[in-house]
């Protein structure tokens, strides 16, 4: 029974990872792509790891996958923040559909 629940978690995770990768291809600029990448890939990968934990139980691999969930949840948003800030400071423009950029307005004259 618990194997089936684990496999369902793994399938959900794979679906979210797929949508995250599709977002990387389809969305227009760095910032939108980062959004798709961080959100979907974080929860998708966490779901896969949790499914793995359910399937293998409290073994060496299962406990490591639980640790990975914690580290992933803590580090993925920080990495996205660093990439987005670096891209903006390096002068990467927002996509042409964008309607407002308060960051550029406030940072004018600095740097």
């Amino acid at each position: 029974m618990i194997d089936i629940i684990g496999l369902i978690f793994i399938c959900i995770g794979l679906a979210f990872d797929f949508f995250g990768c599709l977002g990387l291809v389809r969305l227009p600029d760095v910032y939108n792509r980062l959004q798709a990448a961080t959100k979907s890939v974080t929860l998708g990968t966490c779901s896969i790891l949790f499914g793995t934990f359910l399937v293998v139980g409290f073994t060496a691999a299962g406990l490591k996958s639980l640790m990975c969930i914690v580290f992933l949840l803590l580090t993925a948003p920080v990495a996205a923040h660093a990439v987005a800030r670096g891209a903006h400071r390096a002068g990467v423009k927002l996509a042409k559909e964008s309607i407002v950029d308060r960051y550029a307005e406030d940072k004018e004259g600095e740097i």
């Binding site: 679906a15 949508f19 959100k39 929860l43 406990l63 920080v78 559909e97």
Partner: protein
């Protein structure tokens, strides 16, 4: 000193999880490694050890924050999946400015991380002196600072203020 002890315990626990099943050789090595780590990076990681002593804050963290965060995270994923799979790509992106009243390091970090993993928003930069966050929003509903603050920040700010301030 207190923060070093907490860091030692955390490092030792992480070591034990990574080297499951524990036997005495692993535990001895882990003891020395954790001691070394705690000695070098003592005050960098845990700056306010007193916070960990309040049961009320733990209670808030586990009962109020975690379910809220998981729910928003799942909503965010469905939102991204919908936008990406839609043939017309319904996005309306932009960077808005929001204000926050949180002051501490941990509180701001958790707020920025929560914003990144919730529907449609991602934190780009923080200005600590003015308490301002710059948020990239995939579907801008309101350009003005106050209205955006109401929509984005207030989901988490009250809970985080209870836990970390």
């Amino acid at each position: 000193m207190k923060s070093r002890i907490i860091l030692f315990v955390l490092a030792f626990l992480a070591w034990c999880f990574l080297n499951w099943v524990p036997d005495w050789q692993h535990l001895t090595t882990g003891f020395f490694v954790a001691f070394f780590v705690a000695l070098i990076t003592g005050d960098l990681f845990v700056t306010r050890p007193l916070l960990l002593k309040h049961p009320y804050r733990w209670w808030c963290f586990i009962v109020c924050y975690l379910p809220r965060f998981l729910w928003e995270c799942i909503k965010a994923n469905i939102d991204v999946a919908y936008r990406v799979a839609h043939p017309k790509l319904p996005i309306n992106p932009g960077i808005v400015k929001v204000k926050t009243s949180l002051k501490t390091d941990t509180g701001l970090t958790f707020l920025a991380n929560s914003i990144t993993l919730t529907p449609g928003t991602m934190s780009v930069d923080i200005d600590r002196d003015n308490g301002v966050l710059y948020i990239h929003w995939i579907n801008v509903k309101d350009k003005e600072t106050e209205a955006a603050t109401k929509i984005i920040v207030e989901r988490f700010e009250k809970i985080l203020a209870k836990i970390f301030e």
